[in-house]
């Protein structure tokens, strides 16, 4: 919820104000680090990323979060979101949809050039959409977001008309994403290899050099004067540049921040956050990612979870809350929704997820899983109650992997044999392709509730052998399909919200997923770094207004 996001930032603001007051009262000359006044121009920020180094800096290619993190510093989108989740102007100043929802006109700013001098115009938007839809680009995230866009027509230099195959209530939300950002057509024309090394945008920084496995150098775009409508200041960034480093090890990253070698780190882990909070010298940004929450999907496409009683039994038996408390040091809040709490349309129902071992046992007895072996594992007709749970060690942080172990232990009390299998990314995808799983946790970041259609519409169950499918719960319910399809084309906000609420009730009420918490996204930075904020779109930090205080 947006209100929750505001509340999260309140204590910080209150702290800043309080410390400013205290300091002002005692030593009038002293300055509180949180309120040290005027921005300072100059200096190079050192960013340390724990995410995998992108193999291509152009977020049109592939399209994952590490790409979004860095692309947000040099690329911009047509529209953005403000803190309350409203769509606001960015490169496009206004937009109108036709009554049938099939034609959208975007009016562009007429005073913007890419950093290679190419003007931003309707033709550039057309080239970008075509680039995203071209199979040779190998786009996945941006491509999916433009699924209903057939073509872009150049109406005039500043008006780009999107022609859609069906009404798309998620179009604006999709266009806020860094994976759909607008790049220089001349840059795209250089070909994939060159464009991957240094994409050209309109953003506050320019890619100067990329030394693989070490860092990307970004320098200030002196002509920068765009930014989303809620940007804090006009004109070029204060920083001279950014050195974007890749430090995969969590402890090293934190040590580098403590030693002052870097100014900000991402992927701060629960133990690190706990240490940082105790030391009190660092500043945290908690910016949950939009889209889906982190949840365990139960594969309803095959036994035993094709039986709703067994799914409910698993959810009743798995003790999530104690695990989160013990392992996340209070840095993660339990979720009872399949959507992120930053999604305004997230629907939450805590009553469905109360832990109740007796109820779990009763449900399993009723479902016929009555035999138990010496270890207490249930079976039915000689088939043990096995839950294969492939765990992606790239995507699940150590605390989450430990949480899965606690879930494994508590589910065993009801007679489930949960088999956790830690796998690297390719192996994990492999287990999913071959349907060798009963439970799985997969993150999905996307702006807006349309992520529900991607995750739970039966179209997302692509038949084996070749395809990836996002519907890992293998949820196949015509009523839900109809709701999600209708919601995706409903232009009335209230009607759309109602449809998504009904859809979420079906998903939660059918026990297809066990929500854990928001997709965690914590940053720690030195108090020297000021004016940084996480974008309300996909929660990546922006340094367009940031400065390094002396």
């Amino acid at each position: 919820m947006t209100s929750r996001r505001i509340i999260r930032t309140l204590p910080l603001a209150a702290l800043a104000a309080a410390s400013a007051l205290v300091l002002a009262g005692c030593t009038p000359a002293a300055e509180s680090p949180e309120a040290s006044g005027d921005p300072v121009t100059g200096g190079t920020l050192v960013y340390a990323s724990g995410d995998g180094e992108p193999s291509c800096l152009d977020p049109h290619v592939g399209g994952n979060y590490p790409q979004a993190l860095i692309a947000g510093q040099f690329l911009e989108s047509l529209v953005s979101l403000d803190d309350s989740g409203e769509v606001i102007p960015w490169l496009a100043t206004e937009w109108t949809a036709s009554d049938d929802g099939l034609t959208w006109d975007f009016t562009l700013r007429d005073d913007v050039s890419f950093t290679d001098g190419t003007p931003l115009n309707a033709e550039a938007v057309k080239v970008n959409v075509e680039h995203l839809k071209d199979p040779d680009t190998q786009s996945s995230t941006g491509y999916l977001a433009l699924g209903k866009v057939d073509s872009v027509e150049v109406v005039s230099d500043t008006v780009a008309r999107f022609h859609l195959s069906a009404p798309d209530s998620a179009l604006l939300e999709s266009l806020t994403q860094p994976w759909n950002a607008i790049e220089s057509p001349a840059g795209i024309a250089r070909g994939m290899e060159e464009n991957c090394l240094a994409p050209i945008g309109t953003g506050p920084f320019i890619v100067d050099e990329w030394v693989p496995q070490d860092h990307v150098s970004l320098v200030r775009n002196d002509d920068y004067d765009t930014g989303p409508a809620d940007r804090a200041h006009d004109g070029a960034a204060y920083l001279d540049g950014i050195e974007w480093r890749f430090i995969p090890d969590s402890a090293s990253r934190y040590a580098a921040l403590q030693a002052g070698e870097v100014d900000i780190i991402d992927n701060a882990q629960p133990d690190t956050l706990d240490q940082a909070a105790k030391s009190g010298t660092l500043v945290e940004i908690d910016a949950p990612r939009p889209g889906a929450s982190n949840r365990i999907e139960l594969n309803s496409g095959q036994a035993p979870f094709d039986d709703v009683r067994v799914r409910e039994a698993f959810i009743r038996a798995a003790d999530v809350n104690d695990g989160i408390d013990a392992l996340f040091f209070g840095t993660a809040e339990r979720s009872f929704s399949v959507l992120s709490s930053v999604e305004p349309l997230a629907y939450s129902d805590e009553t469905l997820f109360a832990t109740d071992l007796d109820e779990a046992n009763a449900l399993l007895d009723e479902a016929g899983w009555t035999e138990r072996d010496a270890d207490g594992i249930r079976s039915k007709d000689g088939v043990p109650l096995t839950v294969r749970f492939p765990v992606s060690t790239n995507q699940s942080i150590p605390a989450e992997q430990s949480l899965f172990e606690q879930i494994q232990a508590t589910a065993k009390e009801a007679g489930f044999d949960v088999q956790l299998e830690p796998l690297d990314l390719s192996g994990w995808y492999g287990a999913l392709f071959t349907h060798e799983y009963e439970a799985v946790s997969a993150p999905y970041t996307k702006v807006g509730p349309d992520v529900l259609r991607i995750l739970y519409h039966s179209d997302s169950i692509t038949p084996a052998p070749s395809g990836y499918f996002a519907n890992l719960a293998q949820l196949d319910d015509p009523e839900l399909d109809a709701l999600l399809t209708e919601a995706a084309s409903e232009s009335d906000p209230d009607a759309r919200a109602a449809l998504y609420e009904q859809a979420q009730q079906i998903i939660l009420g059918g026990f297809y997923a066990l929500p854990l918490y928001d997709q965690q996204n914590h940053f720690l930075h030195s108090p020297k770094l000021q004016g940084v904020r996480a974008m309300p779109t996909v929660s990546t930090p922006t340094f367009a207004d940031a400065w390094l205080a002396d």
């Binding site: 291509c56 994952n64 693989p212 496995q213 040590a255 070698e261 192996g427 395809g467």
Partner: protein, 297 residues
């Protein structure tokens, strides 16, 4: 031998479940469409039978072409050339430091009494058993976080090399010192020691000029193996200290099933290993002329 290495690696990578096409198209949070997956499979020839892919790879390698990386779309040779120096610098420095530490420890422990030897044996055993990741974490905690003397992550300055080199060198020094100490003690009991003493050689002189030569021989032979050990250790060390290099390249390529890069790196490491073995052979001859004599006889 290189052929065997390439073959083994190729099939080992393919034995592990996983789909390179999926990995090529992104990672966490990026969900590839069917069209894109099919396209990638066709582009990279991943839809062909394994045997065909294997033969194609051999043909490529035979003509000296390491191919292009799946994930980075750049030639593997360029990729490795850019990373080789960093890893070799790290490994060779670690080897030198390990030798210095080992020689120092061996000279001291053989001159010390029974208690000294016991202490040395304890140090060697502990050092040799230290896992790299643990040692790295402790070194960072002590020398960066607590004392603030050295940077916790690699940088352009030589100071950034100290902790990574120590992490690799200390366990290896443990191995080498263990070996050398035993050999030196053996050598000191040989008749030539007595005759040297009779010639008026000092105890320290004997250790430096005679026993060390004996002791060094097996340790030199071990250095070929040590380079392999150090490069495999580089996978951990480069990751923890965020140093660019072959170890990190290999780790990342394995995760992505970037087969051409994995095979390329393994081949280059094998080449370095071969070169190092030849080198240690030559050094052994210099230290012990008997080797060449025996061959001539």
């Amino acid at each position: 031998m290189l052929w065997a290495v390439a073959t083994l690696t190729f099939f080992a990578v393919h034995l592990v479940p996983g789909d390179p096409a999926q990995a090529i198209l992104g990672g966490p949070g990026s969900q590839a469409s069917q069209e894109a997956l099919d396209q990638v499979r066709a582009d990279y020839g991943l839809d062909r039978p394994l045997a065909v892919q294997y033969l194609a790879m051999l043909g490529r390698l035979a003509s000296g072409d390491l191919g292009d990386s799946y994930a980075l779309k750049t030639p593997v040779a360029d990729l490795i050339a850019g990373q080789l120096l960093g890893t070799l610098t790290l490994a060779l420095l670690a080897l030198v430091v390990a030798w210095v530490l080992a020689i120092g420890l061996a000279l001291w422990s053989t001159s010390a009494g029974r208690i000294g030897r016991a202490i040395a044996a304890g140090i060697e055993l502990t050092a040799a058993a230290l896992p790299h990741f643990w040692l790295a974490t402790v070194l960072i905690a002590v020398f960066s976080t607590s004392l603030g003397w050295l940077p916790p992550v690699a940088n352009d300055q030589p100071s950034g090399l100290v902790l990574p080199v120590l992490t690799l060198a200390v366990p290896l020094a443990g191995f080498l010192a263990q070996l050398m100490r035993e050999q030196m003690l053996d050598a000191l009991e040989q008749p030539f020691t007595t005759s040297a003493l009779a010639r008026g050689e000092t105890a320290a002189g004997i250790r430096l000029r005679h026993a060390l030569r004996h002791a060094a021989l097996p340790a030199v032979n071990l250095s070929g193996w040590a380079i392999g050990y150090l490069i495999s250790g580089a996978v951990v060390v480069e990751t923890i200290f965020a140093r660019p290099g072959l170890g990190r390249t290999l780790l990342r390529a394995t995760e992505l099933r970037d087969v051409p890069v994995v095979i390329g790196v393994v081949l280059v490491v094998a080449l370095v290993y071969v070169a190092m073995t030849v080198l240690t052979d030559l050094v052994s001859r210099a230290i012990d002329p008997r080797i060449a004599l025996e061959e001539r006889a």
